[in-house]
Amino acid sequence: MSSRRIFARPARFAAIAPYVWMVLFFLVPFAFVLKISLSQTAIAQPPYAPVFDLTAGWDALRGAFAALSADNFKLLVSDDIYVFAYMRSLTVAVTATALLLLIGYPIAYGMARLPKRWQAVAMVLVIVPFWTSFLIRIYAWINILQHDGLLNQILLALHLVSQPVVWLSTDTAMYIGIVYSYLPFMILPLYATLAKMEPALEEAAADLGAPPWQVFWLVIFPLSLPGVGAGVLLCFIPIVGEFVIPDLLAGSNALMIGQTLWLEFFTNKDWPVASAAAIVLLMVLLVPLLLYERLQKRQLEHGR
């Protein structure tokens, strides 16, 4: 009896905690951004108008609401810059995620088939880069990829090229940076699903006449789909909004939406347009997010 009362309160708190978290750290900031996105830019502090002034009374508030407009969103659609930025973000994210899956899957599979004690070692090796600052690692890549950097030195030493290749400020450099940075996020969920897959399933498939490639396509891959889904979304969503890597490694002729946001916000000081761009980005990302949630729900229902 008394024990039930002891446990009841923390349990109830634990149940509402995620909602409190969502309201405080997602919905409230989102409301702010949404409001800014509907207002107009102004040379002021903060740099947009109108601002709600609760002390000015009801009429002022109503006036402020009336001044809200969808102009910023219309601008986003009408101006090529934004459309191109969104398209580029999606293209980069799709390409990079595909590369990540192609590179991450064999690594995760290899890890899952290692002897148990080596799996732990491999896991640490995958996570180890996180112990160094992300920015430092990207700067290290600049070092490797620059004109007289390590990569060109090796290529020249091996006589694979006759003169240094331009790597920096190219899409190749950006993809290298993105794949390198996000690889653990692809490997870990894939590894988790592959490691708990019964090895006897592969043997059963082979026993029933499936050559190795069929074992993979008919058994291993379908069963690893939850991990593929998790890995793809964990990479795709942040890559769409990626700012640092394209800014440091890619050229400046095509911008991703994250870079455009930065420009609007800090260079143009146009908070409302930046906010509108952020809202649209969120809507674009909401689709894969909802897909991910449905996937998770299905997994829970299947109890594994």
């Binding site: 399933l201 043997e203 059963a204 082979a206 006449g209 069963l223 109890g303």
Partner: protein
């Protein structure tokens, strides 16, 4: 694809066809097969012939190499030495998907993302069987293992017994020349296990297929198999029919591994016609029948199964005249273990040893039952004894 598997004729007619040697003809020959993992010799020079239509059991304690041997037959391990001839063709190095052999896995290894139907059809599709034939064969298999109505279920929507049936149907669907079963009943509870044993035997007889089962459960092996190979430390210790294994074990280890047994160490004293007299430390002089294979003069052990030992209050009267006809041992009941069908008595012999006797409870009301500390005479004939090298 030169695959002979997607045959549509019935197993009975297939028994006369070429990929299926006729029942009784040699099907599988294992020649000096060995497998080493690191420094551990899991299978150590096993040779064995299995005939078509046999139900063969590999029996042994865990780690004896029986599963490794089975996995080499399936192709999951390649032997380091020796040959595996299936229908005269060496398959030792063939990959699993190239062998006309199927396996039923210990935990079934059903594909969780496929329905019962697709699990059963998996092997047929791989063999390139036409769609219509697949549907027919799957329906046939579903009926065979009595899973009608469950074709669309996923494995996690089935009970343990149903999963076991799907695994069996899936392994049988390709009509393999050889079906391997790795502890197929270990995950079932006792009642279900017993009824499934019967069904497996019936199926094997009806399909005329060759089954090799791996088990650590000797009762399971005895019940189902027509021949048993007992493995110990990577070697075949004895290959025999269940009865021979039980009544004429070749070594002390096998005698103790298969069933319960009383063992008395001693030395051969003298020979009287076809009888030997063996002096034992714990049970005095015992008269035994001369073993078929002559045993050396050194240390011996006399083995008697508990159910061969009779108990009575005064001892056998009829043959008391002939001294060598019967072994009589006096003792006191030290322990009674009632098991329902039988009761096991432990008799503390006057000569010092302990003797186990298993007596059938053939009457419901036993007013004359033995009680603790009661004096009894235990007796058995020389033919009931097995002489083993110690």
């Amino acid at each position: 694809m030169t695959d002979e598997l997607p045959r549509t004729d019935t197993a009975a007619s297939a028994a006369g066809g070429d990929p299926y040697p006729a029942a009784g003809q040699p099907l599988l020959r294992i020649e000096g097969v060995a497998k080493t993992f690191g420094t551990f010799r899991a299978v150590d020079g096993v040779s064995l012939d299995i005939k078509a239509g046999e139900f063969f059991a590999l029996l042994g304690p865990s780690g004896c190499g029986k599963t490794t041997l089975l996995r080499m037959l399936a192709g999951f391990e390649a032997p380091d030495e020796g040959r595996i001839l299936l229908g005269g063709k060496d398959i030792a190095q063939a990959l699993p998907h190239e062998r006309p052999v199927n396996m039923m896995f210990q935990n079934y290894a059903l594909f969780p993302h496929l329905s019962v139907r697709d699990n059963i059809a998996f092997g047929l599709k791989r063999a390139g069987m036409p769609r219509v034939e697949i549907a027919t064969r799957v329906a046939e298999m579903v009926a065979l293992v009595k899973l009608e109505g469950l074709e669309k279920r996923k494995p996690d929507q089935l009970s343990g017994g149903q999963r076991q049936r799907v695994a069996l149907a899936r392994a049988l669907a390709r009509r393999p020349q050889l079906l391997l079963l790795d502890e197929p009943l270990a995950a079932l509870d006792k009642k279900l296990r017993e009824s499934t044993q019967g069904e497996l035997m019936e199926l094997q007889r009806r399909l005329g297929m060759t089954f090799i089962i791996v088990t650590h459960d000797q009762e399971e092996a005895m019940t189902m198999a027509s021949r048993i190979g007992v493995m110990k430390a990577g070697k075949l210790a004895q290959v025999a029919s269940p009865r021979e294994l039980y009544e004429a074990p070749r070594s002390r280890w096998i005698a103790e591994f298969v069933g319960d047994i009383n063992l008395f160490d001693g030395e051969s004293k003298l020979r009287d016609g076809h009888r030997l007299v063996i002096g034992t430390r714990d049970a005095g002089a015992l008269v035994v029948a001369e073993p078929r294979e002559p045993v050396g003069a050194g240390k011996l052990a006399v083995a008697i199964r508990p159910e061969k030992v009779k108990l009575s209050r005064r001892g056998p009267v009829s043959e008391a005249g002939r001294e060598t006809a019967i072994n009589r041992l006096d003792g006191v009941i030290a322990d009674i273990c009632y098991l329902g069908g039988t009761t096991t008595f432990k008799v503390k012999l006057d000569t010092g040893g302990m003797l186990q006797a298993s007596v059938a409870n053939s009457a419901r009301l036993d007013v004359d039952a033995y009680s603790l500390n009661q004096h009894v005479v235990a007796w058995f004939t020389p033919d009931d004894c097995v002489v083993l090298p110690s």
